[in-house]
């Protein structure tokens, strides 16, 4: 039997709605059908108390100085829309589902998620649709990419200074 695991992260923000949705029975059932047996949740500044579930094994913590290890050990990352978390998950080549927080003011998080979705690097959704998306998405169709523009930006800066 496979022991695939899911890692959920909300970054440094508070996004209780995501935690609520991700621990709903319908989501857990969908995950179980896809072979995921455990879930680690980084709940950030949230006040949410997680109910144990007998469908998927759930563990959680608020913050860690480095969530990289948990991310690397997982087989699927469900993340909030923050650029930091998205880039980190793509760096590790993990299948990624971004859940955009609709309640954020003038939300520009859509921009990055939508753009990367068009290029088929990730899937994105809202809390309401989470269950549906998990059922119907095939994460093996995603392309893997490491977005690192640093080298080009450095060149541009060096060119500017002529050094």
């Amino acid at each position: 039997m496979s022991t695939k695991s899911v890692f959920v992260t909300v970054g440094t923000t508070k996004f209780d709605e995501l935690i609520t949705s991700v621990t709903e029975d319908c989501v857990l059932e969908a995950l179980k059908r896809k072979g995921y047996t455990s879930m680690t949740i980084q709940i950030g500044n949230g006040t949410f108390i997680i109910k144990p579930s007998n469908i998927v094994k759930i563990s959680s913590y608020k913050f860690k100085s480095d969530i990289g290890l948990d991310m690397r050990n997982s087989d699927l990352v469900i993340s909030h829309g923050g650029a930091g978390s998205i880039m980190q998950a793509l760096d590790y080549g993990k299948p990624l589902l971004v859940v955009v927080n609709e309640k954020l003011m003038n939300n520009h998080q859509y921009e990055l998620a939508e753009k990367l979705y068009k290029e088929k690097y990730l899937y994105y959704t809202t809390c309401k649709n989470l269950c549906n998306i998990l059922e119907n998405s095939d994460f093996s169709l995603l392309n893997s990419i490491k977005i690192d523009n640093s080298h080009k930006i450095c060149k541009q800066i060096e060119y500017f200074f002529n050094v």
Binding site: G82, A83, G84, M87, K115, C154, I157, E158, F160, F161
Partner: protein, 216 residues
């Protein structure tokens, strides 16, 4: 009598000169036909560290920078941001660098009225840092914390103290529009680098798309 004329004339000339220079500098930024610099020495670099994702992006960039060309490096960060401080200390592997902390201009949930005063306070605290460090380059990538610093850097340039260049790197999370900081920096930065072609199309010559315009 002569003294009286001088007393009137000198401030007038000064203010006329510096307003003209202010307009000249902003126009130079906007039109973007600034000449490329040739530094004979490594660039003294002031790096403005934001928070969270901005810090991560900036450190990633600093990792790729040629440390010999950009030295010494001074990292400027908000005094409340201990997470970023630890990350800078972990990631910075070169020599000749240091960290300076300035008071944060606005705390989360702080009212707008008091945040005006704390912003002015943090601008005042930035002045001695910029004046003593004399940066050739101020490098920032948002968020709002970098605006006071760039403002001070622009002032020292205005008054011929140091010929500082301000480079703003827009965050990768901006695909279709510049951030508020980016829109402000539009008027002050010598170079704005964007990471998506959509932004290049929208803002045209004012911004540079990654390594656009370089031969190899």
């Amino acid at each position: 009598m002569l003294f009286f004329i001088l007393w009137l004339l000198i401030p007038t000339i000064f203010s006329a000169y510096f307003s003209a220079r202010l307009i000249y500098l902003i126009m130079q930024c906007l039109i973007g036909n600034r000449s490329l610099k040739t530094l004979r020495h490594p660039a003294r670099t002031l790096i403005v560290i934001g928070s969270g994702g901005h810090t991560a992006e900036m450190l990633r960039l600093m990792n790729k920078m040629n440390k010999k060309k950009f030295t010494p490096r001074l990292y400027l960060l908000a005094n409340t941001d201990t997470t970023s401080q630890i990350r800078v200390e972990n990631e910075e592997c070169g020599i000749d660098w240091s960290i300076v902390k300035i008071p944060r201009s606005r705390y989360v949930n702080q009212s707008y009225l008091t945040s005006i005063f704390s912003t002015i306070y943090s601008i005042f605290m930035t002045v001695p840092v910029v004046i003593s460090f004399k940066p050739d380059l101020v490098l920032c990538n948002g968020p709002g914390t970098c605006v006071p610093v760039c403002f001070v850097a622009f002032l020292v340039k205005l008054f011929h103290y140091v010929d500082t260049s301000i480079i703003f790197v827009e965050s990768i999370c901006r695909v279709n529009t510049l951030s508020l900081t980016g829109k402000i920096m539009y008027f002050f930065a010598d170079l704005i680098i964007v990471q998506w072609y959509e932004l290049k199309q929208k803002y045209g010559m004012r911004v540079k798309y990654l390594d656009e315009g370089l031969s190899s």
